[in-house]
């Protein structure tokens, strides 16, 4: 997870406990291992996300 920049919960049916993480691969601040590809990473996090539009 080199250069982890942001994350958000999935919203598709069956995907609601998934956290998606964006990375820059070290584009801005390189890791000692060098600059990698930028990635979208999926993690099964075990809980639902808070709805961002609640109350809107």
């Amino acid at each position: 997870m080199i250069g982890s920049t942001a994350c958000a919960f999935g919203r598709a049916p069956g995907d609601e406990k998934t956290l998606y993480v964006t990375t820059d691969g070290g584009f801005l601040i390189p890791h000692e291992s060098g600059i990698q590809d930028a990635k979208l990473v999926r993690m099964e996090i075990g809980e639902l996300g808070w709805p961002l539009l609640q109350g809107v």
Binding site: M1, I2, G3, S4, T5, A6, C7, A8, F9, G10, R11, A12, P13, D15, T18, L19, Y20, V21, T22, T23, D24, G25, G26, F27, L28, I29, H31, S33, I35, Q36, D37, A38, K39, L40, V41, R42, M43, E44, I45, E47, L48, G49, W50, L52, L53, G55, V56
Partner: protein
């Protein structure tokens, strides 16, 4: 040279390191810079590709990633409104102006706001009133309130010393999300997580510190009250529980 202040912490505490399984579902050949993401009502994941001046779309149903919209300047933050219109912050880092764009479902882009003195537009989220986008300007720390009903109309929603950068070029306010009447804001350069109450008239109350020694970029809110926080230069993902307990769920080797 950093001038120490009461609300600046140079170190990061991610708690216990307990990595969980990760899967890379899409990749962009180096050098590429994904900065932010938002998920639409159908579950498609939209990411800003700062390096390519593009927003791309990942479809979890098919696994396909396709270009969605091209911007006239690099995009940074993303948020959907209740009508599934995509709102995008951006501009070239450390150069003025900053921008807000409105992106339709078709991918059509319309410039909505231009900020002459903004050089570091960043994370954004919908205000509970449904008519306003709150957007971080990281070089000043200000949170801008953008009227989504009228192009070019905006105001400063929140500003304060605790939101400002300390280290040059390292962001002040960075990510913002709202839960139960509070706006939660990461202040990356100070290693702080702060929050402010949203007053009945929609304005911001006083800033209070929630956590320190936390190198936080942007974040997501869990139903439990936990925050999932990306740490950019620390190359990790941290869970911060309502109790204050921390756990690092992914490190440089994951993903």
């Amino acid at each position: 040279m950093v001038t120490p202040t009461e609300d600046y912490y140079p170190d990061h505490d991610g708690g216990e390191f307990a990595p969980i399984e990760t899967t890379t579902v899409a990749r962009w050949k180096a050098r590429a810079f994904l900065e932010n993401l938002a998920v639409d009502a159908d579950g498609a994941v939209f990411v800003t590709v700062y390096s390519h001046k593009r927003v791309d779309r990942y479809d979890p149903a098919t696994g396909a990633t396709t270009p969605f919209a091209e911007l006239p300047a690099p995009p940074m933050g993303l948020a959907f409104d209740a009508g599934d219109v995509l709102w995008v912050t951006g501009g070239t880092l450390y150069e003025s102006p900053g921008f807000i764009w409105r992106v339709e479902r078709s991918g059509a882009v319309r410039q909505w706001c231009e900020f002459p003195d903004a050089i570091f537009m960043n994370g954004c989220t919908m205000h509970p009133n449904g008519r306003t986008l709150l957007a971080c300007e990281s070089s000043s720390g200000r949170i801008l309130a953008v009227d989504l009903g009228q192009p070019g109309r905006w105001d400063v929603w929140l500003q304060g010393d605790r939101l400002r950068p300390v280290v040059p070029k390292w962001p002040g306010s960075n990510g913002i999300k709202i839960r139960e009447g509070w706006a939660w804001i990461t202040v990356s350069g100070r290693r702080l997580l702060v929050r402010v109450p949203i007053q009945p008239d929609g304005s911001a109350g006083a800033i209070e510190i929630v956590a320190d020694r936390l190198c936080a970029d942007d974040f997501a809110l869990g139903m439990s009250g936990s925050l999932y926080i990306t740490t950019h230069p620390e190359h990790t993902l941290v869970r911060l529980d309502p109790s204050g307990a921390r756990k690092t769920l992914a490190g440089p080797e994951q993903g």
